[in-house]
């Protein structure tokens, strides 16, 4: 089957999303030492040091308004992006609740972003169906550049 390879990411709160296969570069299974940044958003208030990069940790569930942290183990997915093709690559960390799974995404599985995921609209490129479940494809650049910010 043709299509584009992707990683399926699970977030606390049982949400799924996808990122391009080349965007996810590493997964930290253990909680790294985080450093607090005063005055930063509550959903993204810590950074970690990874391979000499200062990387913000972003909790999408909190960004979308989750008031309480869901229980369970956390993983940290290191993703990369560029603001412009000629820019140096930058990194961010997504808080996940499981190890990502590979998937193949083809045009035939594309679907509209459902109303139940309307809050994701500002940082989603498109959406597709995976086992009849809509899975948004994240716009990593928008998420970490600050182009989209929580209300």
């Amino acid at each position: 089957m043709s299509g584009a390879p992707a990683w399926i990411i699970g977030f606390p709160g049982n949400h799924l999303a996808a990122v391009g296969a080349s965007e996810l570069v590493h997964v930290l299974a253990d909680e790294p030492e985080g450093f607090n940044v005063p005055g930063s958003p509550w959903y993204c208030h810590r950074v970690i040091l990874w391979e000499d990069n200062v990387i913000p940790i972003l909790d999408i569930e909190k960004m979308l308004g989750a008031g309480r942290e869901a229980p369970g183990r956390r993983h940290y997915g290191i993703v990369r992006y560029r603001l412009w093709p000629t820019d140096p690559q930058r990194f961010g960390a997504l808080l996940m609740d499981r190890i990502p799974q590979r998937a193949n995404v083809d045009d035939a599985s594309a679907c509209a972003l459902p109303d139940t995921l309307a809050a994701w609209r500002d940082f989603v490129i498109s959406c597709f169906l995976l086992e009849n479940r809509p899975v948004p494809i994240l716009d990593i650049s928008s998420l970490f550049s600050g182009a989209c910010a929580a209300a």
């Binding site: 005063p38 005055g39 930063s40 950074v47 200062v54 140096p88 930058r90 961010g92 970490f144 550049s145």
Partner: protein, 166 residues
């Protein structure tokens, strides 16, 4: 790779309070005084007292890890770090103040998704495998200036008991 070209520097001091480290340019710290020398009976609204040094009055404030005023002196705050370059001179209470070693600091910009109108740090610094916010006297002065004059009376009444741990 940092977001922008890094710079090496030895011009920072490390301040510790409320369990968090911050870096400040050393040239903005003209003096450090023991907290025991604080005159707790005077000082402007929001301060925990003032240091009198060479005939000059330096209001001193206490901040928490989010750089919010707490209006008291936690027992582990053993020193008052005095700043120049803003508010005609002022200070904050700290657990400790240490100079950083030469060529041990690399400066990074704040990631875009962390920037908010209330952001306190100017940038982030990597040193000895750790990350700390870089502050300046001007940044701390902006936090201090948010205090309203009406807070003076409640602060004055609270002082004697709050200093019991020193």
């Amino acid at each position: 790779m940092p977001d922008s070209p890094s710079q090496k520097s030895s011009r920072y001091a490390r301040l510790v309070f409320d369990g968090q480290s911050f870096l400040m340019p050393r040239n903005q710290i003209p003096a450090v005084e023991p907290s025991i020398d604080l005159n707790i009976q005077s000082g402007p609204a929001g301060s925990v007292g003032e240091i009198i040094l060479s005939g000059r009055h330096w209001p001193v404030y206490s901040l928490d890890r989010n750089l919010d005023l707490i209006g008291r002196i936690p027992p582990e705050r053993r020193v008052c770090v005095l700043f120049s370059g803003a508010l005609d001179g002022f200070g904050i209470t700290c657990d400790e103040l240490t100079p950083l070693k030469t060529d041990d600091v690399r400066i990074h910009p704040i990631p875009g998704c962390m920037r908010t109108p209330g952001l306190s740090a100017a940038s982030l610094a990597v040193y000895s495998g750790r990350v700390a916010c870089v502050l300046s006297a001007e940044i701390i002065a902006r936090r201090v200036e948010r205090v309203k004059p009406c807070e003076l009376s409640s602060r004055s009444q609270a002082r004697p008991a709050e200093l019991g741990g020193l």
